[in-house]
Symmetry: C2
Subunit: 237 residues, 2 copies
C-alpha cells in the first residue's frame, strides 16, 4: 500500500501520445479503396486532431492503379485512378508513428523488392503497422509477420498465405490485432480496421464521430466475417 | 395476340447498352471517399466489363483535397491526398454515358462556377447522373435537380438543401433515383448507390460479384437511413 506524502502527489504513469505521422506505402496496381478507405477515416479525424500524411513510393512518379501486365486488364478498361506520392523510400522521415500497407495485384509483383526492403527496415522504427487486404502478403514477404497472428483478403486467400509460411493466419476475421500489428481482411475491411484503430488510439467518441460523418455503419466485431464463407476459405469453418 | 409467322421470329426490343464512359468531376477540397468509393466498385467491374474513366477538372493541375481556407483545417493537418485529372472541362469527350459529382467542402466554394456551368451544359447529353454526398448541392446549383426528388449528406443537411429551393429533397434516404438522376447520402452512401446502379445497369450477379470482391456488406435498402436520425434531419421523422 502506498503512503501519501503531503505535497508530493504520485507521479501519473505517462500515457503514450496518440499517433500523428502516418505513412502509406504506394506501388503500381494498388487497390484504390485499400488506400482511400483508411485515408478517408484519417482525413475526417484530421479535422479534430493534428495528423500528417506521407505517401511513400519508390520514385516521385505518379502511381497508377493499372496492372503492369495487360492480361490483368482483360477488358482493356481505363478505370484506373492514380495517386501522386509525397515522398520516396529515401526521402520519407524515419520517425513515422504508423506504417500502412495497402493491397492490390501489385503486391505480387516481382519488381517490388525495394519496397519490401523498406518495410522490413522501417517496421522496427514505427509504433504501429496496419495492413489492408493483400498488404499483409507484402508484410509477410518482408518477414515481419513471422510468428504473428494475421489475416488477409478472403477472395485470394490461398495466393496470399503462401507468402507467409511462418505466419499464424486467421481464416475468419474482419481484422486481427497482434501486438502493434493490425491486419485487415479485403478492401473495405480496411475501413473497419482503421476505425477500430482510431477507437483504440484516440477514444471511442472520436471513432464514432468519424464513422457518423462518413455515414458508415461500422462492422464492429473483428471475428464476424461473412466473406470467409462466401469464398470458402480453408479452415474457416 | 401475336401471330407466329414461320421463319420470321418476333424482333426483340433493343435493350440499351450499359454505360461505358464514366466522367467524375474533381474540384479542390473534394471528399476522398466520395470519389474513391464509387471508383473502387467501377474499378472492380472494369475487370469483367470494358469501362472508361474520365477525371474532369478545370485545369490539368493535380487536385488536392485540402480546403482553400485555413479555417477549414483548424488542426493544421496534412491528411490531404491528391488526384491528377485526366481531362479538363474543355478536353473531355462530350459523349460520356455517366456524369458523377462527388461532394466535399469544395462544393460550397464561390470559385467553382466554370464547373457548375459544365455540369449544367453536360447533363442533357449524358444518359445518367450520379451525385455523392454534397455533390447534389453542386447539381442543385447547376439547376438540374429542380422538380426532382434527391437526397444529400445528412450531417450538413441544412447547408446543402438551401442550394436547391425547387428540389424535392428526401430527408430519409440512403440514395434516391428520379428518372436518370441518382443522388446519394453522405460519403460511404456513394458505394451503396453505385452498387445499386451497377445492379440496375449490368445485373444483380455483377453487383454481387463486385460487392463480394470488395468484401463489402451492402446497405441494400434505399429507404433505410440511420444517419437522418443521428443528425436529426428536419422532416425525417
Amino acid at each position: 500500500m502506498k503512503t501519501y506524502v503531503p505535497g508530493k502527489p504520485p507521479k501519473p504513469k505517462p500515457t503514450p501520445l496518440p499517433p500523428i505521422k502516418y505513412g502509406m506505402i504506394l506501388f503500381r496496381s494498388f487497390e484504390p479503396l485499400d488506400v482511400f478507405g483508411p485515408l478517408e477515416a484519417l482525413h475526417m479525424l484530421s479535422k479534430i486532431r493534428h495528423l500528417q500524411l506521407f505517401l511513400i513510393s519508390e520514385t516521385m512518379e505518379v502511381v497508377t492503379t493499372q496492372p503492369v501486365v495487360a492480361a490483368m486488364n482483360p477488358m482493356n478498361s481505363t478505370m484506373y485512378p492514380t495517386l501522386p506520392p509525397t515522398h520516396t523510400l529515401s526521402t520519407v522521415p524515419d520517425d513515422l508513428d504508423v506504417l500502412m500497407i495497402p493491397g492490390g495485384l501489385g503486391t505480387r509483383s516481382p519488381l517490388i523488392n525495394a519496397t519490401i526492403d523498406y518495410i522490413a527496415a522501417t517496421y522496427p522504427k514505427v509504433k504501429y503497422l496496419i495492413t489492408v487486404c493483400t498488404g499483409s502478403a507484402l508484410a509477410a514477404r518482408a518477414g515481419i509477420l513471422d510468428g504473428k497472428r494475421a489475416t488477409t483478403n478472403k477472395a485470394s486467400w490461398d495466393a496470399n498465405v503462401i507468402y507467409g509460411p511462418k505466419v499464424k493466419w486467421v481464416p475468419r476475421a474482419r481484422w486481427v490485432v497482434d501486438g502493434n500489428v493490425w491486419t485487415s481482411s479485403g478492401i473495405s475491411a480496411g475501413i473497419d480496421a482503421t476505425l477500430a484503430f482510431i477507437e483504440e488510439m484516440y477514444g471511442k467518441e472520436n471513432a464514432t464521430y468519424v464513422a457518423n460523418l462518413m455515414e458508415y455503419e461500422r462492422h464492429g466485431d473483428p471475428n464476424r466475417d461473412p466473406f470467409s464463407d462466401v469464398f470458402n476459405v480453408a479452415g474457416a469453418k
